[in-house]
């Protein structure tokens, strides 16, 4: 398959996907307007309207946990490709990873010093 044919196939797929989405919207629109009735925008379950709003607000201090999670989650994501080339690259790879982990552990130590792992006195 030539490059032009491949691009033509890709273009066809994009047109097909966009066309499908637009036609679904078109059908929904042609069926009539959606009324903004009072009961519709209130979350409900089991015949009761929700006691609490579903858009719960979280305290900004949770961001520390989000950062910690992201740091160690990304570390794992980085370690998979690293493990594949580790034997090939050798000691240099070990040192590179050591520096990377060292920086992350500094973050961990900082979080620890700020009481990020304490929930009770």
């Amino acid at each position: 398959m030539s490059a032009l044919q491949q691009y033509a196939l890709l273009f066809g797929m994009v047109v097909g996907a966009v066309g499908f989405v637009l036609s679904v919207y078109g059908i929904a629109r042609s069926l009539g307007k959606t009324r903004q009735e009072p009961g519709k925008d209130v979350p409900a379950t089991s015949g009761k309207l929700s006691r609490d709003p579903v858009w719960a607000r979280y305290h900004v201090r949770y961001y520390g946990y989000a950062l910690l999670f992201l740091a160690f989650d990304m570390e794992m994501a980085y370690m998979y490709p690293w493990a594949v080339v580790y034997r090939e690259v050798g000691l240099k790879a070990l040192l590179d990873m050591g520096v990377f982990l060292g920086i992350l552990y500094l973050g961990l130590l900082y979080g620890w010093s700020q009481g990020a792992f304490r929930r009770q006195r």
């Binding site: 042609s30 069926l31 009539g32 307007k33 959606t34 009324r35 009735e37 009072p38 009961g39 519709k40 925008d41 209130v42 409900a44 379950t45 089991s46 015949g47 009761k48 309207l49 929700s50 006691r51 609490d52 709003p53 719960a56 607000r57 979280y58 305290h59 201090r61 520390g64 979080g111 700020q114 009481g115 990020a116 304490r118 929930r119 009770q120 006195r121």
Partner: protein, 535 residues
């Protein structure tokens, strides 16, 4: 035009869509499929597909007379249904605050089938209309305002400054403190910024779980229209993660007063008693009649006694099958749910003893297979266990599954003549309750065959006079005791002790500290009827 038409100028395209929609109707059943089956209605056979949530439903199917609390819950469900939507009432009386039904029929399978056909026509012709009106039931509007208030209340995670800004001048400092106290918020001072990532201030003062970990607790309503629980039963779990930290049970159904139903002319007490609990109308009809007979001091013939045993035991077997159908749905066993539902309807419809004998054998085969369901033991064993097997509050199969021999039938001479002795098991958990109810359903059908009479009516003895009488009947959920006072042909005072009123006190024990799925199975295993519970 139907009550919940979708706003659009009808074209050929709309007519095609409407006709296609009318062929496959999803119905959200209120109070629930369990109540519909107890009335002898086969919703699926009538051409409606039962759905679990209003958002998948095109039809709100209302079955039987609904108390105020259930009508309001139905209105909330209706408000959530996408248009086009229709209201289909089967034997339902007053429906306010819901709109007038698009189709209303009597409470029978034949009427249901005819009603579905009428509903299809109505939908095909009136699913789309150029002008439609909003559904603005008060219950929806009120709750919406309340929700806005709660949105404000939920701002406790924001800082003190944020609150002061949002509330404007009216927000005095003492009001702020009150709000913070109510919401459990602790304002974070400058001195605490040294440990700004610490969760201590965030969780201080909040209740701790059993494992000592403090998390934010979330209230979650289950019912009155939760498909996994008996229709009308309303619980609120306070969830600590996926564990139930607290349970609140709403006592009975708003607007349904069991004892008040029984007051009035003595001649029609049985008819009123039948409305007390749609899940077991005959047991309450019988209870009312026996209490009246006790008050009048009149006896009944042996044949009448056998007839009553036949009627009550058939209802018990059907009720246990109905419970098994709901329980099967709750635990995700489709085969169990469908087979049990089919047997329940067959039992309620059986018209002669030969047919009942055939159903008895079918029930025995079903019970044998159900008890051999793979992994059932590991799934239900230990769930819903109660620490105190001798708890006085227990009644009926729940008590007998805990080793108790409590059964009002043991003291009845007519039952003794049929060599009745109660089935007793000792597991005291959901598995044992499941086994016991299935075994009891076969035992009940054997009693019907021994009695040799099947009927769904229980006649009232003549010569009713004034006095006070007490009667006890072993209903499918346990012993119910009724005390009535008669004066000049009127029932003037009533005192009812129903099994679910006692068993509902076990809900806390089977839920608190359990994972939410196990807690629901534990509640399901108690076979509660919200209709019996006095508010």
């Amino acid at each position: 035009m139907i009550s919940g038409a979708r706003q659009a100028e009808p074209t050929w395209f709309h007519r095609v869509v409407a006709r296609a929609m009318a062929r496959r109707l999803g119905a959200f059943v209120v109070p629930g499929p369990d109540v519909a089956r107890a009335y002898g209605l086969d919703v699926e056979a009538a051409g409606l597909q039962t759905v679990d949530t209003p958002r998948h439903a095109g039809v709100l199917l209302l079955v039987g007379e609904l108390p105020e609390g259930l009508r309001e819950a139905a209105a909330v469900a209706y408000a959530q249904m996408p248009r086009p939507r229709a209201v289909f009432a089967v034997g339902a009386g007053n429906l306010a605050p819901l709109p007038d039904p698009d189709v209303s029929v009597a409470l029978s399978q034949e009427s249901l089938v005819a009603g579905v056909e009428e509903l299809r026509r109505s939908l095909a012709e009136g699913a789309f209309a150029p002008e439609t009106e909003d559904f603005e039931a008060e219950v929806v509007l009120e709750e919406k305002e309340g929700e806005e208030g709660m949105d404000h209340g939920h701002m406790h995670h924001g800082s003190g400054e944020e609150e002061a800004e949002s509330d404007g001048e009216e927000n005095e400092s003492d009001q702020e403190e009150d709000q913070e106290e109510e919401s459990g918020e602790k304002e974070i001072g400058e001195d605490q910024l040294e440990n700004f990532m610490s969760m201590i201030e965030m969780t201080e003062g909040m209740p701790a779980s059993g494992d000592g970990l403090i998390m934010e607790w979330v209230p979650a309503p289950y019912g009155p229209l939760f498909p996994g629980l008996p229709g009308g039963l309303s619980l609120t779990f306070t969830l600590d993660g996926d564990t139930v930290a607290e349970t609140e049970v709403e006592p009975g159904i708003e607007g349904h007063f069991p004892a008040a139903l029984l007051r009035g002319p003595v001649e029609s007490i049985a008819e009123r008693a039948a409305k007390l609990d749609p899940l077991t109308p005959l047991a309450y009809r019988l209870l009312a009649r026996r209490a009246v007979e006790e008050a009048s001091g009149v006896g009944i013939s042996d044949e009448e006694a056998l007839s009553r045993i036949g009627a009550l035991e058939r209802e018990r077997a059907a009720s246990h099958m109905g419970w098994a159908a709901s329980f099967g749905y709750l635990i995700g066993d489709g085969w169990l749910s469908q087979r049990a539902a089919r047997l329940q309807l067959a039992l309620l419809r059986a018209s002669n003893i030969e047919e009942l004998e055939r159903i008895r054998n079918e029930t025995e085969n079903f019970v044998r297979k159900a008890l051999r369901t793979p992994l059932l033991g590991s799934k239900l064993g230990g769930i819903g266990a109660l620490d105190d097997p001798g708890a006085e509050v227990m009644s009926g199969p729940v008590a007998r599954a805990a080793g108790s021999e409590k059964d009002a039938r043991s003291e009845d001479p007519s039952y003794r003549k049929l060599s009745f002795s109660p089935i007793v098991r000792h597991g005291n958990d959901a598995l044992t309750r499941f086994q016991l109810r299935l075994e009891e359903s076969v035992q009940s059908l054997d009693l019907v065959l021994k009695a040799g009479i099947i009927t769904d009516t229980v006649s009232l003895a003549n010569n009713i006079s004034s006095g006070t009488g007490t009667a006890t009947v072993e209903t499918p959920r346990g012993s119910a005791t009724l005390n009535v006072t008669l004066e000049d042909g009127e029932v003037t005072a009533v005192e009812l002790d129903a099994p679910s009123t006692r068993n509902v006190r076990l809900v806390e024990a089977v839920t608190v500290g359990k994972e939410v799925a196990d807690a629901l199975v534990g509640v399901g295993s108690l076979d509660l009827s919200p209709w019996e519970i006095s508010r």
